[in-house]
């Protein structure tokens, strides 16, 4: 198998140029998909027979929650690649993922809380999914905190990469234990973020939002990656050529 494309990705100038070329290919579809999904979800889909119009926040909440986990996994994969094969660009990619993932997590928590108010009457409920999201937020904050705490870039990269890998192994364990904990204390009337049963007219906008968010993540990642490479390689000669081009 020809892996030269993978090796070339390890070169900062190549990836920098590639990222600039690819960004519009993710940014435009992201905008279109999100707009279409919002239109389909907020306007076209009929109100849920149980939850009325309140369920519509799922069109932002569910993709955000899904993305928060996917970004953490991507971050851990990039970190592992950087750790094992010592590729600096992989570390730069992991560093770029973290704030994006943390933002998705905050969005999921805020929308989950806003969903809770009309549904449960309170802004917060120790629902297993919300609790897991909260723990995930702390995992992101810990990752970013460790990066910020170590001055030497290489050591910060490698230490936070190890943390990301340890975290990703722990995420299923934490999620399982939180779900189990929650199941012990369930009141008979289940107060959870129950997903309404989905008709096609509801499902299609949700999938569009999910794809749109994924595209958005890719676009944001590429932009942040370029900024990250620029910062790390600012003393290199190729930067001056790339910027003057």
């Amino acid at each position: 198998m020809n892996f030269t494309w993978f090796h070339r990705l390890g070169s900062p100038p190549y990836t920098y140029a590639l990222a600039r070329r690819l960004t519009p290919w993710f940014a435009w579809p992201a905008a279109l998909l999100i707009l279409a999904g919002l239109w389909g979800g907020l306007v076209l889909a009929p109100p849920d027979y149980q939850q009325g119009d309140g369920f519509r926040i799922i069109y932002v909440h569910a993709p955000s929650a899904w993305m928060s986990l996917m970004v953490y996994t991507s971050m851990a994969v990039a970190a592992a690649v950087g750790l094992i094969w010592r590729i600096k660009v992989a570390h730069a990619a992991a560093a770029s993922c973290a704030p994006i993932g943390a933002s998705f997590t905050v969005a999921a928590l805020v929308t989950g809380s806003l969903w809770g108010q009309p549904m449960w009457g309170t802004y917060w409920q120790w629902d297993p999914r919300l609790t897991s999201e909260l723990v995930l937020l702390f995992l992101y904050l810990g990752y970013m905190g460790l990066r910020a705490g170590i001055e030497d870039t290489q050591r910060a990269d490698r230490a936070s990469a190890l943390l990301a890998v340890v975290g990703v192994v722990n995420v299923p364990i934490i999620h399982y234990s939180v779900t189990w904990w929650n199941s012990l204390h369930q009141a008979p009337s289940v107060m959870r973020l129950a997903k309404p049963t989905m008709a096609a007219s509801m499902l299609v906008p949700l999938l569009m939002m999910l794809l749109g968010f994924t595209s958005l993540f890719a676009a944001l990642l590429l932009v942040r990656l370029r900024a990250e490479i620029l910062t790390r390689e600012r003393t290199s000669s190729w930067i001056r050529e790339a910027l003057s081009a």
């Binding site: 723990v135 702390f138 995992l139 904050l141 810990g142 905190g145 460790l146 705490g149 170590i150 290489q154 050591r155 490698r158 230490a159 190890l162 943390l163 890998v165 340890v166 975290g167 192994v169 722990n170 364990i173 934490i174 399982y176 234990s177 939180v178 189990w180 904990w181 012990l184």
Partner: protein, 239 residues
Amino acid sequence: MATAGAYTQAAAAVPVSALEAVSLALRRDLTLAFRKPAQLIQPLAFFALVTMLFPLAISPELSQLRAVAPGALWAAALLASLLALEFLFRDDALDGTLEQYALSGQSLTALLCAKTLAHWLLTGLPLACMAPFAALALGAPSAALSGIVASVLLGSITLSLIGSIGAALTLNIKRSSALLSLLTLPLSLPVLIFGARATQVAISGGALIAPVELLAALAVLALTLAPLAAAAAVRISLE
């Protein structure tokens, strides 16, 4: 001064086995700890103090305290073990002996396992011995005490092991106690959940075998994976 030859002949070139190196490391840490007994007492005093906060903050009624006893006990145990974690690698990193461990030709994983074991013997084990007293103070019935000791014993093993990873990652960071807590607490949540559950079951007199088995499973998982991660983290910090 003795002649050059004397010590070269006396110093055998026999390498030391891994087990001997590990037991030597264990003995060294225990010896060092007992030369500074004040440092040993601090986490235990902290544990007692935090336990005392709950009756003062909630109510002196034992029946009310019994309801929060599992949570209070485990929150206090978690915080006390976090406090103690800072001493795990810090001194060795500062005086260069951790570096010598990495260069000794022995498995760093095994040596760090020995250090974590020593740390647990000095903090986790005493914590498990103090837990029944704290539980009594929070209204737990005496029938529950053996179950509480067992759960804190198993849980503290996992806490020490998970904490060793965070301690190794934050070796070079000054004033890292908040960051260390931020890194370690999310990873310790399963221990908290299962441990508090075990304590709850012990207090209400139910069958303890299931929660204790879960705690034991966590301890075994931590024992197999955490020293590897800690050794990798130490090597990264030494770079």
